[in-house]
């Protein structure tokens, strides 16, 4: 098919903290470069950013506590205008048992958040988007990157998704084929498990010594009764309702105006294929500590998102001919503290510095773009991630081993007993069901706890209804036969948006995909035991509305 072509110097796929930092920093650097009179003259207008969401920030979800150091480098006077909500005033680490909770008398350093801010990532990113657009960068909202344009040993741009295609793949009246956007440098900033990043990593074998492993974070924002929580109070919880064999924990962050952000993060590498992360989160809310906090309050918003847990040894090679990978797509996350916003911003900035150098030299091959990797190694990104390079792997056999191993790492600069520690993809942890009957589904009481459909409603998710299903299952027969037998169709359980459903058909079961519910968390692409689900971008503008999340 012939597509309309457009050429840019730099194309950034995804307007999150990493992509926008890259765009803003590059625009600033170009301004300085041009002012110095050095050739070639460059222009911020030749930077394009694609964002699949309805608007900038619509698909941003995080806890979130942000370490402000990277933002301070990007926007030195950020405190004047950034929507930071509130500084952390008190950080607690709590251990939950079924009936009670214990606070660590001295908050362990990884849980200490003095100097950090409780933020809404969606609000912060929206604000950054404003700065980026004001700098002259073109941000195309409601356009997703659907395909990569491969060239040589790398990439030369992307093709955006076709619009106006009906359920059966036929063009509708408003059919517009996707654009072919070519760029000297394409920056993949798609967030965790980027659909283009996944293809590139597989094709060019960019994987590190460990595969990337992921967690899922499920979050609700609540408006609570006045006096229930102080703004700036942040707590992390360990233990109940997760078993000691599972890796994860909860968060409770006090925001301004009696708003509280609560959530549960769980590593997608558990043994029971019918474990239901959403139900675990709802159960967690019934703990007396949370029950008391939320009593008389009201659910404001819901969302879910995966996050890359793997750490330093799971980061893919992040430069190819004509391409760089930044932010969560590149695994820039401190797997001990589960903090990634500042690393995403920093990675975007280092990418921008690399790109300026490459544009000046007129050479955007991997040979030149490799300085991105060097810059990362010399920056605090490596310093922070190197210290905890074996942290997540130590919990492979459960909480107790993990505490011992990671304790040893703490005093040996991250080395511990073995270095590097290897890991397996999370979906390999599933154990077969061997005919065990399916558990009953979580229903919720409608006040404190909710079923998934009610929660999805509060994510503000919408998609054009008449479009091809964006969740591509390679072989539906596997779902109705092998998976029923072996794993009991985990997709029905791990999806936090009730997208996957095994419906009765005749004597058997058939997979039904309610794609319009999808909150773009990518869990299915990650956690499917056969790795036959491919998450692709739906028509631009579709997806959740995470305003305020």
């Amino acid at each position: 098919m012939q597509r309309e072509q457009l050429e840019a110097d730099v194309l950034i796929v995804g307007a999150g903290p990493a992509g926008l930092s890259c765009a803003l920093h590059l625009a600033n650097l170009i301004k300085k470069h041009n002012a110095s009179g050095t050739k070639p003259e460059l222009s911020a207008e030749n930077i394009y950013v694609l964002e699949k969401g309805r608007e900038i920030g619509a698909h941003q979800l995080s806890g979130a506590i942000m370490n402000p150091k990277a933002l301070a480098e990007l926007v030195p006077d950020f405190e004047k205008s950034a929507p930071l909500d509130t500084p952390v005033t008190d950080s607690a680490a709590l251990v939950f048992t079924r009936k009670s909770s214990y606070r660590f008398p001295i908050t362990p350093p990884p849980f200490n958040n003095a100097g950090n801010f409780v933020i809404s990532l969606s609000k912060l990113v929206k604000w950054m988007g404003g700065l980026v657009e004001a700098a002259g960068v073109n941000v195309f909202k409601e356009f997703g990157g659907a395909e990569l344009i491969y060239e040589g040993n790398g990439i030369a741009g992307v093709i955006t998704e076709d619009k106006g295609v009906d359920k059966n793949g036929k063009p509708k009246d408003n059919y517009t084929p996707g654009y072919e956007l070519r760029a000297k440098v394409t920056v993949l900033a798609e967030g965790p498990r980027g659909s283009l990043t996944k293809q590139l990593v597989n094709k060019q074998k960019l994987d590190n010594i460990n595969p990337q492993t992921y967690g899922i974070g499920i979050k609700e924002l609540w408006d609570v009764q006045p006096g229930k929580i102080k703004p700036g109070f942040v707590a992390h919880t360990l233990g109940w309702p997760l078993s000691t064999k599972m890796y994860g924990g909860g968060w409770i962050y006090g925001l301004s105006n009696n708003r509280v952000s609560i959530g549960l993060v769980i590593a997608l590498e558990y043994a029971d294929p019918r474990f239901d992360p959403h139900a675990a989160f709802q159960t967690w809310k019934t703990h007396p500590f949370l029950r008391n906090l939320l009593e008389g309050g009201k659910l404001a918003r819901y969302g879910a998102k995966s996050l890359p847990y793997g750490g330093w040894y799971a980061m893919p090679r992040n430069y190819v001919d004509g391409g760089l990978i930044v932010g969560d797509s590149g695994g820039f996350l401190d797997s001990q503290r589960l903090k990634g916003v500042h690393l995403a911003i920093k990675s975007g900035m280092l990418a921008a510095e690399t790109i300026l150098e490459a544009l000046k030299q007129g050479d955007t091959s991997a040979e030149t773009l490799k300085i991105y990797k060097d810059k990362i190694d010399q920056s605090y990104i490596k310093k922070e991630m190197w210290k905890v390079r074996n942290f997540h792997q130590s919990f492979h056999n459960g909480l107790l081993d993990g505490l011992v191993l990671s304790g040893l790492q703490e005093i040996t600069g991250g080395h511990g007993l073995i270095d590097p520690m290897y890991s397996q993809p999370g979906y390999e942890a599933y154990q077969k069901i061997h005919g065990r009957p399916a558990p009953e589904r979580f229903k919720g009481d409608g006040k404190l706890t909710f079923d998934r459909l009610t929660d999805v409603y509060h994510s503000g998710t919408r998609h054009e209804e008449d479009q091809p299903c964006h969740l591509k299952v390679v072989d539906l027969n596997v779902c109705s036969t092998r998976c029923v037998e072996e794993y009991g169709n985990p997709c029905q359980y791990f999806c936090p948006a009730a997208v996957y459903e095994m419906a009765k058909e005749g004597a058997g079961l058939k997979l039904k995909i309610n794609a319009a519910n999808c909150v773009h968390c990518k869990t299915c692409d990650i956690a499917d035991p056969y790795q036959i689900i491919n998450w692709t971008v739906p028509e631009g503008g579709g997806g959740p509305n995470y305003e305020g999340m």
Binding site: E142, F143, Y457, N514
Partner: protein
């Protein structure tokens, strides 16, 4: 520059974007010291041609043929190809209509030339003629120029030029000439049937006073007839929750809820609908809600004025019978 404008008419009625395109041609001609021919295609279009002749153009071409009475892509392309080959224009302009979208790219391809579609303006850049077209849903505009040999093809978006700026002919009237085209019936591979307008959704649920809505509890499409019987006996409309329309068991326009219609009838009878919030937001304003569901914990009962915990397959026939009796 020699400009040829292809106007559009159907059964003697103008598509008014045609005049906007003539305005575009007049402005391009003014900028390039060009001349304009305007073509009208069809059968029995002389009076339309006379109307065009009063405008500021050099010539009106009448392309008439029995086989052009109704639009067919083959007929138009074959005829216009001959006209373009003999008139040798540098630039061929079209209004960007649905019909033009259908045949103009094909015509350009037949002649091996380029086409720039859906332009919003033009400008003269040195000796280059630059066309401007929108991209990314209007977020940005691209400048496009032709590099190949003439004739060039371009179409202008509806509303891009103002038809009221159309200049009248200074000397009264432009000559009207017939353009000779040869068409054989076998050139035309499609047979136009009668024109029709797609029926608007036959039902406006928002205006229905009585609605019988079905959900997953209906189980299979063959069971819908039972619910339709209830609706008929009640004199109401049938509607559904999302899964039913997703399956294609009922058309999308009968879907109630956040991704469908929002209704507030006098009576809403929910059959086998669990009452997920996505559905409830579309009908909670109903004056009276009656819900039938097997599951006594179904959330629909929280908003129902009357609830029946029962199997809908027992209720539906019984209800139909009673309603018919009551109506006599």
């Amino acid at each position: 520059m020699k400009i040829l404008v292809i106007t559009e008419q159907r059964q003697g009625k103008w598509n008014n974007t045609s005049f906007e395109t003539v305005v575009a041609a007049q402005q391009i001609a003014a900028a390039t010291a060009g001349t304009i021919s305007v073509a009208v295609v069809g059968k029995g279009v002389t009076s339309l041609a006379q109307e065009l002749a009063t405008k500021n153009v050099a010539e009106v071409l009448v392309i008439e043929n029995d086989l052009l009475e109704n639009y067919t892509p083959d007929g138009y392309c074959t005829a216009l190809k001959q006209v373009i080959e003999s008139a040798k224009p540098d630039l061929v302009l079209f209004p960007h209509t649905y019909q033009v979208r259908d045949f103009a790219p094909k015509l350009a391809a037949m002649l091996g030339k380029g086409m720039v579609g859906d332009c919003i303006s033009f400008r003269k850049d040195g000796d280059k003629l630059v066309f401007v077209r929108q991209m990314f849903q209007g977020k940005t505009a691209a400048d496009v120029t032709f590099v190949g040999a003439t004739p060039w093809f371009a179409s202008f978006q509806s509303g891009a030029f103002r038809a009221d700026l159309l200049e009248a002919h200074p000397g009264g009237k432009a000559p009207v000439n017939a353009a000779k085209v040869e068409l054989k019936p076998e050139d035309i591979r499609t047979k136009p049937l009668e024109l029709f307008k797609e029926a608007k959704s036959a039902v406006d649920l928002t205006q229905a006073p009585l609605i019988v809505a079905i959900g997953r509890g209906i189980k299979a499409p063959e069971n819908i007839a039972q619910a339709e019987a209830v609706a008929k006996a009640l004199g109401g409309e049938i509607a559904a929750s999302r899964p039913i329309c997703d399956e294609g068991w009922l058309p999308m326009e009968r879907q109630i809820g956040s991704s469908g219609q929002t209704v507030a009838p006098k009576l809403y009878l929910a059959l086998g609908i669990s009452g997920a919030i996505q559905h409830v937001v579309g009908m909670k304003g109903s004056r009276t809600i009656v819900a039938v569901n097997k599951d006594q914990n179904a959330p629909i009962f929280e908003i129902a004025d009357y609830g029946i915990v029962a199997d809908i397959f027992e209720i539906m026939p019984a209800l139909t019978e009673e309603l018919q009796k009551a109506r006599g």
